[in-house]
Symmetry: C2
Subunit: 206 residues, 2 copies
């Protein structure tokens, strides 16, 4: 029995020990979407992927769950950055709103398991403490509400309750993002058509 190590990885220089932390999070992220479920992110698999011995992880994380949490936290930051970037690349309010939703769909298509785990699926309830208004889900929801308000103020949408509309668009886009990669045989309409339809009708765009 040989415990084959990935010898290509050199030891970090002094003071650079926390570089391993990043490598661990990246490796865990790769495992998540390659294997399709959070249970595949085992400390031993992560260590193999990084090219390190399993106990080395304990210098940076207290336990296995903390590694998964770190992956989710990082991915949420990336998701919000993608939404903002997509939105800011457009000028018209309606286009900005749609671009933001499309960015979510792109993220979910690229990393379907990431996206599901970020939403706490399939667990029955979010085990993480409420982080309040800085919680990533709250941030991205606020971006959506703002996008709708911009359409209304530009006179492009009639929407008596932007919060209700934003909630509806959120559940629709999350549902689409989750279902589409998992039901490839379903006769999906073209992406733009479905997205325009539900954003248009739910936000009351005229």
């Amino acid at each position: 029995v040989t415990t084959q190590q990935n010898r290509s990885r050199p030891r970090n220089a002094r003071g650079q020990g926390s570089k391993l932390r990043d490598e661990i999070v990246s490796a865990a992220g790769r495992l998540l979407d390659e294997n399709g479920n959070a249970e595949a992110v085992t400390l031993r698999a992560v260590a193999r992927e990084v090219g390190v011995a399993a106990p080395s992880i304990y210098a940076h994380f207290p336990d296995r769950e903390a590694v998964v949490r770190a992956v989710v936290d990082r991915s949420y930051i990336e998701l919000i950055a993608a939404i903002v970037a997509a939105r800011d690349a457009e000028t018209g309010p309606v286009e900005r709103l749609e671009a933001g939703v499309r960015a979510v769909l792109r993220f979910a298509a690229d990393r379907p398991t990431h996206f599901a785990v970020m939403l706490g699926l399939p667990g029955s309830s979010d085990p993480e403490p409420n982080r309040g208004s800085t919680e990533p889900a709250t941030v991205s929801f606020q971006l959506l509400v703002d996008g709708i308000n911009d359409c209304v103020q530009a006179g492009l949408a009639h929407c008596p309750d932007p919060h209700l509309a934003a909630t509806a668009i959120m559940v629709a886009s999350h549902g689409y993002a989750l279902l589409k990669p998992r039901k490839p045989t379903f006769p999906w309409p073209p992406d733009e058509r479905l997205v325009s339809y539900f954003i248009g009708t739910l936000a009351g765009i005229e």
Copy 2:
């Protein structure tokens, strides 16, 4: 070390051996929602829950995955029965349509992990072979399309593309069903309000 058995369960009478099959599926179903993920449905846990030795399961299922599949299959049948029952309890086409969607939400609220696993979450792609038009997801989608068409034919809805509208309602209701139990701190609008809103606008109800 004692392998404690649940002695309360009597051996099935001759010819009734397949009763154990049902007990296994029920026990696995209970474990699914109690523990919040499909990995908790281990053969040993199921056997403990039923009050039987683990190898006894092999008389009825070829392997662990077959047990989970049987749970999902049974749950899909129950879900469709619930949709039909809810729909048939109403008379107006709009009410029938909404009642069907609400039945899905009730199911997901009662058995959140079941519902997620039925949709293949959080795996990246549905591993099951396509069962074609008899697939439960196809059946429930058709119920939705029919419900919209009934509204249109009754002159209660203006909907140029029922298939597109049904797809939008499906992703919205599934998204809502998945998110609501997992984000209890989100300021959800009242259930009836959100459901009426997205069904009303997406199906073009006047």
